[in-house]
């Protein structure tokens, strides 16, 4: 596992979408390679940031009422 391969698979690693073998190879590389480790931290933080910023909004109460009214005549 070299740095280029590691960075290429970084998102899949973060998304828990790799095979166990590849996942282990990446984890080992990250432990041994500070620059890739830093990039891992950066990308992880970015994904957490994204989720936090984009999930604050939910369906408006008015829409909920409208759906219920339309479906069940309430």
């Amino acid at each position: 596992m070299n740095c280029r391969e590691c960075v290429e698979h970084l998102y899949e690693f973060l998304d828990r979408e790799l095979t166990p073998e590849l996942e282990r190879e990446i984890r080992e590389h990250l432990e041994d390679c500070p620059p890739c480790g830093e990039q891992y931290d950066f990308e992880e933080l970015f994904l957490k940031f994204l989720r936090a910023r984009c999930r604050t909004q939910g369906a408006p109460a008015e829409l909920k009422k409208r759906v219920l009214r339309e479906l069940f005549g309430e």
């Binding site: 998102y11 899949e12 998304d15 979408e17 620059p35 830093e38 990039q39 931290d41 950066f42 990308e43 933080l45 970015f46 994904l47 940031f49 994204l50 989720r51 910023r53 984009c54 999930r55 604050t56 909004q57 939910g58 369906a59 408006p60 829409l63 909920k64 409208r66 759906v67 339309e70 479906l71 069940f72």
Partner: protein
Amino acid sequence: MANTPSPDVSPPVDEKRASFEREALVHLDVLYRVALRLSGNPSDADDLVQETMLKAYRAWDQYEKGTNAKAWLLTILRHAFINEYRRRTRHPETVDLDKIEPYAVFPEVQDEDPQGAFFDRIVDDEVLRAIDQLPVAFRETLVLSDVEGMSYQEIAGILDIPVGTVKSRLFRARQLLQGKLYDYAVEMGYIKGSPA
């Protein structure tokens, strides 16, 4: 006049309603967020969710209870969006996704802000605005994954594309979005950035 209820048959409508509330209506927030990112405005998002719920309720017998209602509903929502979008737009988005060349942000900030502290200063609205500027194929993939936490397999099913395509779109969508947010942060002075 005689009102003769059938005593042994449990009311199917109530059952249908109960299971729909339990498995489908609980995903209203997810559907609304995705609809809002797809359609770009609250009023179209409302209509899209409403239409999705009506279609879903009508087709509820075809849904295998206890499986993946969220993915099933999102598939309906996306079809409704595409139909509406095609009907309204005579000139659909003609972005050549392969020509978009995102650049990696991390090497740019590695020295000045490797921990990405500049992200913390960017507020919700700016992030959403940046997402809305992504080509729709990137936007929907990113929203399903990074906002709603769906797996590659689930996204592939919803968007009807191979898992490999999900992977590559997600990679480029994230890089593109990071690039936009980084440019914004530089513009706002949240980060100095490297001289061009």
